[in-house]
Symmetry: C2
Subunit: 124 residues, 2 copies
């Protein structure tokens, strides 16, 4: 799991819906197959599969087939690492995240922009 903004965004988006947040937490307690999760959450099997795939794409869960069944489990250690990188990154975002680099000169340019006089009022 690469520590880029795109990765973080995917993770947050995945956990940003209640059912997926609860799925993730359930899968932190143990592994479960799709039919069990269907039973626990009272939504259709395709809906469960779809949510699991979103969590998987975000690197939050892994799956293993056992015969007919596919068991999912959470991958919290990787999330922990990612969140630690996020917390580290927000201390100096323009350096930490490639996607933020461009803002450096844009922010410089603000000070010269006559349409934006409010910089004088800023408290740092």
């Amino acid at each position: 799991m690469e520590n880029s903004l795109a990765t973080l965004q995917k993770v947050f988006e995945a956990l940003g819906q209640e059912i997926r947040l609860r799925l993730f937490l359930i899968l932190c307690t143990n592994s479960f197959c799709v039919c069990e999760l269907e039973e626990l959450f009272h939504v259709s099997q395709p809906a469960i599969s779809r949510h699991l795939n979103i969590l998987k794409e975000a690197g939050l869960v892994t799956d293993t087939r056992k015969g007919q069944w596919v068991f999912y489990r959470a991958n919290p250690e990787e999330l922990k690492t990612l969140l630690a990188g996020f917390a580290e990154g927000w201390r100096e975002p323009l350096r930490a995240f490639g996607e933020m680099e461009e803002f450096g000169e844009k922010i410089q340019a603000l000070a010269q922009n006559p349409k934006i006089p409010c910089a004088l009022e800023r408290e740092r």
Copy 2:
């Protein structure tokens, strides 16, 4: 900011869209007024205001009016606390989060459910 699933879900949802994730990170570097952010992100002023409000509702940023301008800044310390609580909570989610409690007996019931024989295959 209360450490409930609902709070976490709101935070993740807020950070789950790229523009808001980048807004949050920019606001970690300094405070900015709406018109500056409009310039930095090249989206309309109402769109910026709306995204800022979502971040604010999630407890991720605060705002202060200075004359005509409203300056926003990030609140990363609170987020750090929240994420620490999340990482702590996922170790024992059914106890840590009130919204997860109900799953305790539901999981027990799975073992007795004849429609779900896969439990035997589970690796713990």
